[in-house]
Symmetry: C2
Subunit: 220 residues, 2 copies
């Protein structure tokens, strides 16, 4: 049921997946009807059921599509080009902060929204959402490990736990943004995360950011 990165999805399937992202991020999974997704995509229910057997199958495919789409976005982001691993970790946080703009459904998280609703009632969607969050967090672990080695920072915490904590802050920041109706409060929480990681590695949080590395220097 998942879309493999190697095979681009059929254009109609892709339109339905993109529409699912918009509709679910706007009104939630339970309230999203197949009709809403079709209307957003400008397609018929016949087209929908040609590509997906159910709303649940769409949601699982949407989580996989989300992981691929955001995976490409983060893989191509400039923070990977910093030589200092702590600059890479903090550059990731800065990059997340730079994404906090526009309308709420444009910058909030598909899988954080879905897992909140279905964790107890739909194990397959729950698993797809957990895989997406955990898989993204895992992309930070090599840089956190390298920063711990470079700065000699150990302490009573795990690399995986810190990687997941960055996701907790972001998911919670999205909830505050929804409560307050805009991204400003979310940006403040991401700034606290940046300050925390700086302090944890013994760096002055007020130190100027290093210049963004040139895109051609990206190492991955």
């Amino acid at each position: 049921m998942t879309t493999r990165a190697a095979e681009p999805p059929h254009p109609t399937r892709l339109r339905l997946l993109e529409a699912a992202l918009t509709v679910i991020r706007t009104k939630g999974y339970a309230a999203a009807r197949v009709e809403d997704v079709c209307a957003e995509a400008g397609l018929t229910k016949g087209s929908f059921f040609h590509h997906f057997r159910s709303k649940e199958e769409l949601a699982i495919a949407a989580a996989a599509h989300w992981s691929e789409m955001t995976g490409r976005l983060f893989a191509g982001a400039p923070y990977h080009g910093h030589e200092d691993p702590l600059d890479r970790v903090l550059g990731y946080v800065d990059f997340r902060r730079s994404l906090l703009e526009g309308a709420l459904p444009e910058f909030t998280c598909l899988v954080g929204t879905m897992v909140q609703e279905v964790y107890a009632t739909d194990p397959a969607i729950d698993r797809a959402c957990a895989d997406s969050i955990e898989g993204h967090a895992a992309t930070l672990e090599a840089d956190i490990d390298a920063a711990r080695a470079a700065y000699g920072v150990h302490g009573a915490w795990t690399t995986r736990g810190l990687a997941l904590h960055t996701q907790a802050v972001l998911q919670g920041a999205f909830i505050l943004a929804k409560a307050e109706g805009g991204p400003a409060i979310a940006a403040e929480s991401v700034d606290h995360l940046h300050r925390y990681i700086s302090l944890l590695f013994g760096r002055d949080p007020a130190r100027a950011r290093p210049p963004s590395p040139a895109t051609e220097k990206e190492s991955r």
Copy 2:
């Protein structure tokens, strides 16, 4: 439509409110049916519609009930008895960590769940959830201000922003707990929050916790 703290709700209304907390925290607001709430409460739909005109009215009253219930819990918690204001702030975080046990619907947040779903579609519930989160965060501000004064900590952040950040971490920790199926990962994020606040105020995060103040010493 809101329940005032001075007037305890009618026992039947209270049973419906408590049932709403369980049902919505288990399956989300959109998927929760009036029938589910009645079944959980062991009451009829006639009883329900005697007390609430709609599911929306129940949700708004449930958010107010949640604020009162959690407000009493936090007002009576031992952390208020610490003399050092930083101990009070960190004691709040420790108290939140101590609540992370049992089944997911028992320790996760009603209003964080509802606002995630309805922020774009139901302004009245959105407002009730925002009031609950912001009102709770505001209870931390006096202690954060006192700690800033006592420790001479200023920096490029606001007291309200840090108070709301504690809520962002908790809300995000609940999402991770739902993704991972248990509270362990949420507790790790709350530990990161504790470590952050310690570092922010220049205290060694490995310092032993002060003994919990005796309940009779509670100042509020």
